[in-house]
């Protein structure tokens, strides 16, 4: 166990903070600790650091610096975007459109808004996980004030037709928010080109620190404040700024967008090799999500006859970090709503495995993960009553 191999393939859950990013943050803890709202030198330096980070975020997504607001993460950004615009536009209408496969940060916020009297349409998705723009068009009513559709899905990696959605919303004069928490650093994004009005991002998904994120709010968009208090963030988001976190976010987004295409391509090639091997060499396995319109690092497969949590435990024992949509994994009691939404039976959803590759993964990692995965699947099948039944049925048929 001591020098056991360990492979991290759960980059969609979180990423290690880049050592360069940590280095950039360090001074802002103990030496450059001024409160940006104050007046003296130490404080002005913090203020400048924040504004530099803001410019970097703006550059990364084609926005203006004054359209970027720092938050405590993707979840807060999502809450603010939805609740802030919904209440600000309440007089205009009370209808919101989203998809059926959003992250809980959107889904549960929509449920909260429903309790507040808003009406929410949850667009269905096709078997690859994409919404149909025809559905979006026909869902729009005179009272629709906001469309929120995620850029790329965190479980199955499917990328939505964001450009078309943006176009439809722009034509109809409806705000378009996208949860780009999984997309930033993986897909080039230009909020102008895509007609995005609000965009959520979270630093720890692209090698930045946890606990810091941002919301892009296009100039002119009406939105209520969500965290009330001091005059920070141009009076839109109160609370003493997390200066080291913001510096880290800025450093991380700059680095991750610099070589975005090269990195994505390298990860995609690696991902495809592992995915192809899994699909071809482990029987009774299916791919979840779109084959090509998916995040470069994302693998989501279902293994028949077995349950995901026990698979994760075996992988963990082999030093492999992965994730599942099974109900039995900690946190939730229901199997992934995303897997059910793309039409999987619950039993197949329970047997799902998500491997999300990142910057530091190698071909060697692939080899190791594949070998351990194959063993683990076989082992669990050997104890599965469902697999035993399947074998009996098959031998009878032969």
């Amino acid at each position: 166990m001591a020098n056991q191999k360990s492979v991290y393939m759960d980059h969609s859950a979180t990423t290690a903070t880049d050592p360069e990013v940590v280095q950039a943050m360090i001074p802002w803890f103990s030496n450059q600790y001024g409160n940006p709202s104050s007046l003296y030198k130490l404080a002005r330096e913090s203020k400048t650091a924040i504004e530099n980070a803001r410019s970097k975020v703006a550059t990364a997504i084609g926005a203006k610096p004054e359209e970027i607001f720092f938050t405590s993460g993707g979840t807060e950004s999502d809450n603010w975007a939805l609740i802030g615009t919904a209440f600000a536009l309440r007089k205009k209408g009370n209808h919101i459109i989203t998809s059926g496969i959003e992250h809980h940060a959107i889904q549960h916020t929509c449920e909260y808004l429903e309790k507040q009297g808003f009406s929410v349409t949850y667009l269905p998705v096709d078997e690859s996980g994409k919404i149909r723009t025809a559905d979006l068009k026909s869902a729009i009513t005179d009272g629709t004030i906001l469309v929120s559709v995620m850029f790329a899905n965190n479980e199955i990696g499917t990328i939505q037709p964001v450009k078309e959605i943006g176009k439809i919303c722009r034509e109809k004069g409806i705000l378009f928010h996208t949860d780009a928490v999984q997309a930033i650093g993986n897909i080039p994004i230009d909020v102008g080109d895509l007609n995005i009005d609000l965009l959520s991002l979270s630093s720890h998904k692209f090698y930045g620190p946890k606990g810091t994120g941002a919301l892009f709010i296009r100039k002119g968009v009406r939105i209520d404040n969500y965290i009330h208090g001091g005059g920070q963030e141009r009076r839109k988001r109160a609370g003493t700024e997390n200066v080291p976190g913001i510096v880290g976010l800025g450093t991380a987004i700059e680095k991750v967008t610099r070589n975005l295409e090269d990195n994505s391509n390298r990860i995609r090639v690696l991902r495809d090799r592992l995915l192809d091997r899994i699909l071809s060499e482990i029987p009774h396995t299916r791919l979840n999500g779109h084959r090509t319109d998916r995040l470069a690092g994302n693998i989501n497969v279902s293994f028949e006859f077995i349950e995901g949590e026990s698979l994760l435990l075996l992988l963990d024992h082999a030093g492999i970090a992965a994730s599942t949509g099974s109900a039995c994994s900690s946190g939730s009691l229901e199997p992934s709503h995303v897997l059910l939404a793309i039409g999987l039976r619950a039993e197949i959803a329970h047997g799902s495995l998500r491997l999300t590759l990142g910057r530091e993964n190698t071909e060697e990692d692939n080899e190791y993960v594949f070998a351990e995965l194959k063993k683990a699947v076989e082992r669990l099948r050997a104890m599965s009553p469902l697999y035993a039944d399947y074998l009996k049925k098959r031998s009878r048929h032969v």
Binding site: S310, A327, A346, A382, S384
Partner: protein, 143 residues
């Protein structure tokens, strides 16, 4: 999240497998909920001489099956019937609250296997105690 005992029984399950000519078989659970347990018994002169299990489910489900089979092996049917889900969970040094239903499944699996044996022997099945927790018998996956 899991105790060492749970992980030991998950990584090294005792009595895993099938008894092809079992005297009693019990199956509980539901694939929709993510867990199915099947218990096989060999019974001689009212004593459980052999027991095996097959489980589709999470770590706690596997460990509960393994531990439950250990607890009833060599016992009389009456003794085995009295092995409660609590006893299984305690022997595993505890289960997370959301995983307690796995130990319930194990208890129910044993009961089903014993009653299957009794019915095959032409005996009336024993009755479950009132107020007993049911795994997924209410049709939902939550306990």
């Amino acid at each position: 999240m899991y105790s060492e005992k749970v992980m030991d029984h998950f990584m090294n399950p005792r009595n895993q497998g099938e008894i092809t000519d079992a005297d009693g078989v019990g199956e509980v659970g539901n694939p929709t909920c993510g867990d199915i347990m099947r218990i096989f018994l060999s019974v001689k002169e009212n004593i459980i001489t052999d027991v095996k299990f097959q489980t589709f489910g999470c770590g706690a489900a596997v460990a509960s099956s393994s531990m439950a089979t250990e607890l009833i092996k060599g016992k009389t049917l009456e003794e085995a019937w009295e092995v409660s889900n609590k006893a299984v969970a305690e022997a595993l040094e505890g289960l997370p609250p959301i995983k307690m239903h796995c130990s319930v499944l194990a208890e129910e699996g044993i009961h089903k296997a014993i009653n299957d044996y009794r019915i095959k022997q032409g005996l009336p099945p024993w009755e479950e105690k009132a107020g007993h927790h049911h795994g997924h018998d209410d049709g939902t996956c939550e306990t």
